[in-house]
């Protein structure tokens, strides 16, 4: 079987019209990537690098002014053959969601309906996908909550009665109870303290191993990526700039931006001061020509200002879009 997700030349722009003139913000610009079965794929990059836009586009969770301009998002759930999610009809999409493709949203603290008991949320989200009678369904839910160290009585609670960590675990339980083939997790641990964060990450890892699902995990926190993901993609200004198995990427980053991200991590025994990267990410409404990173890049050459670098596979499974790396210059 091929990859579970193949994104090809995806372009998604925020398109706004002011008095007849079109203003485009190219938040996702020409991204191609594949995610294999049974792997955790990480997506990293600083704020406004287009991570969230990319996964919203992948999940077909977009609403105007965000539009897909070009490209395809092909999912191949267990033996059905690849299909572009944007060609699915509304009923097909509804049947796919949560059964095959589920989503843990950013800001998970507010994703539960404040006036509905948790049990009803589970019924709303998951019941129609499980061919089970209601009592058996609720037993299954309770069992699943147990996997996440939650007592069955949270089902009778309202969201505001639970702590942040519990709510987060409830959200993860909600997204995984149907054992979906593909889970998108957008910053699911960002709002949590490190102790709870560690527990939640371990749970995601364990659930993923048990179910054999694929996870697309998005966070700006490189330490989390180092601990959790199998492969890692780095985004900068709406483009994918590097992609490699996580260990290889941390051992030898090829893109100068990736090198900066990794170098910013503190290490035990290393006392050298950390340096921030000069400058700010570019305005995506009018990105710089050539390589979008060149104004901040210590290795920038003349060619970087003129031509946009393309993704090249420089080592097995290690792709990078950088003129310097292509010439063998390492950051």
């Amino acid at each position: 079987m091929g990859p579970i997700l193949a994104v090809e030349g995806l372009k998604a722009y925020y398109q706004m019209r002011y008095f007849g003139t079109l203003r485009e913000v190219r938040a996702v610009d020409d991204i191609t990537l594949e995610i294999q079965r049974d792997e955790i794929y990480g997506l990293a990059g600083e704020s406004s690098s287009g991570k969230s836009t990319l996964i919203k586009t992948i999940a077909r969770a977009i609403r105007p002014p965000l539009n897909v301009v070009d490209g395809a998002v092909r999912f191949d759930f267990a033996g059905q053959g690849p299909r572009d999610i944007y060609t699915l009809s509304a009923p097909e999409l509804a049947a796919t969601r949560w059964r095959h493709l589920s989503y843990i949203m950013q800001g998970s603290m507010n994703v539960l309906n404040p006036v509905r008991r948790i049990r009803h949320s589970f019924v709303d989200f998951a019941f129609r996908h499980m061919s089970l009678p209601m009592p058996a369904f609720l037993r299954r839910v309770e069992e699943h909550l147990g996997h996440l160290s939650l007592r069955p009585d949270v089902l009778e609670s309202f969201p505001h009665e639970l702590s942040g960590g519990m709510r987060q675990r409830v959200t993860i339980a909600l997204a995984t109870v149907c054992r979906p083939d593909f889970i998108i997790a957008d910053e699911p641990t960002t709002a949590l303290d490190v102790v709870v964060q560690k527990g939640v990450l371990e749970m995601i890892r364990r659930l993923q191993r048990e179910m054999g699902s694929s996870v697309l995990f998005v966070t700006h926190d490189m330490a989390v990526h180092a601990n959790l993901t199998d492969r890692l993609g780095i985004m900068y200004a709406g483009r994918l700039v590097e992609e490699a198995p996580t260990r290889a990427l941390f051992r030898q980053p090829l893109h100068p931006y990736t090198a900066h991200l990794i170098r910013s991590l503190p290490r035990i025994g290393d006392d050298t001061p950390r340096h921030g990267l000069e400058g700010r990410p570019p305005n995506l409404a009018s990105p710089p020509p050539g390589c979008r990173f060149h104004p901040r890049c210590p290795l920038a050459m003349e060619v970087c200002q003129q031509t946009t670098p393309v993704m090249q596979e420089l080592a097995p499974g290690h792709r990078v879009a950088c003129h310097a790396a292509a010439q063998g210059i390492l950051p």
Binding site: A59, A94, N110, V111, N113, P114, R116, D124
Partner: protein
């Protein structure tokens, strides 16, 4: 649960306090008028023919007894409250000797019935349409409904009432223009009587709904347009939860809480709104009664109607406070 009992007790105490103060203010205002009901009644009774001074003195004593105007100011006040707590407002001055409570009992069902139906109808329709318009923002029909609601809303109520009256009472006379039921009909549980009551209530109800619906519609629409961007709504849509369920249990349910508070306040205040309606459509309710009482200087009747109104408003507010924790579990009973 103990917390809730304490909360309930506090709210009940507040309720009693508000009613007490409200009725006292009414008492003070009405007693500040220069009209003396005893002298007025005596004047009316002795206008024709001559009456002996002894008879007049006797009459004065018994009338003072009846109206509770004898003795010092404090004694009068005590006597007033002694009668209020048992629901005795004394005899009406303008319809002497009919007791005020009888007059109110006769008028109250008309006002309560008319206003309750009209308020609930406009609240229900306004919220339903407003919710739909907020959720299905592209729907042409709902957009049109919004324009109509917003257009009618600022028109003063009496103009809408008169326009309806002119259209359906004179230009195309299909509906009765005055009264609560056809004259000569015996009130009772007959089909004919019920039909007549409904026919007579159509115009006043329609005018109230037409004017009332706009506020609820616009309020709900803007509440809903906030709720649809909340994370929990977006997430439910993302999860493929059925649209009907999202509209009902996620969007409307969360937007409704402030509207319920509004409803209770409106329900309590229905006696104020009824005055113009009942005047225009000649409806025999509390509003007409109050206006007649004020014109006649019948202050026991004014106190009676006002007291009923104060009780209704305070009770509605109490009810909202008591029921609110059921509606929104986040509201702690404090």
């Amino acid at each position: 649960m103990r917390g809730y009992a304490l909360y309930l007790f506090k709210r009940l105490f507040q309720f009693c306090l508000v009613v007490f103060i409200g009725i006292n203010v009414t008492y003070l205002i009405t007693h500040a008028t220069p009209i003396d009901p005893v002298e007025q009644t005596i004047t009316a009774a002795t206008a024709f023919g001559t009456t002996s001074p002894e008879a007049i003195a006797m009459m004065r004593r018994s009338l003072q007894d009846l109206y509770g105007t004898g003795g010092s100011g404090f004694d009068q006040w005590l006597a007033f409250w002694r009668r209020i707590v048992v629901g005795d407002f004394g005899p009406s001055l303008s319809a002497f000797p009919t007791p005020v409570s009888t007059l109110i009992r006769r008028a109250l069902p008309w006002t309560a019935g008319l206003m309750l139906v009209a308020t609930l109808l406009s609240w229900g329709l306004g919220n339903l349409l407003g919710g739909l318009a907020g959720y299905y923002r592209r729907n042409r029909l709902l957009k049109f409904a919004g324009i109509v609601a917003m257009g009618v809303h600022p028109v003063p109520y009496y103009i809408v009432a008169f326009v309806l009256l002119i259209i359906f009472g004179y230009l195309w006379p299909v509906l009765p223009i005055t009264g609560a039921y056809a004259q000569g009909l015996q009130p009772g549980f007959s089909l004919e009587f019920a039909g007549s009551v409904i026919r007579h209530s159509l115009l006043p109800t329609a005018s109230l709904v037409l004017v009332g619906i706009g506020g609820w519609f616009m309020g709900m629409r803007s509440l809903v347009s906030n709720v649809v961007t909340e994370d929990y709504t977006v997430y439910a849509e993302l999860a493929g939860v059925r649209r009907r369920r999202i509209l009902g249990a996620y969007v409307m349910r969360n937007a409704l809480a402030p509207q319920v508070t509004g409803l209770a306040m409106t329900l309590g205040a229905i006696f104020n709104g009824a005055i113009i309606t009942e005047q225009v459509f000649g409806y025999p309710g509390l509003g007409s009664l109050l206006v007649a009482a004020v014109h006649a200087g019948d202050y026991s009747l004014v106190i009676g109607v006002t007291t009923v109104s104060i009780l209704a408003v305070s009770f509605a507010v109490l009810l909202v406070d008591v029921l609110y924790p059921l509606l929104d579990p986040r509201v702690q009973a404090r």
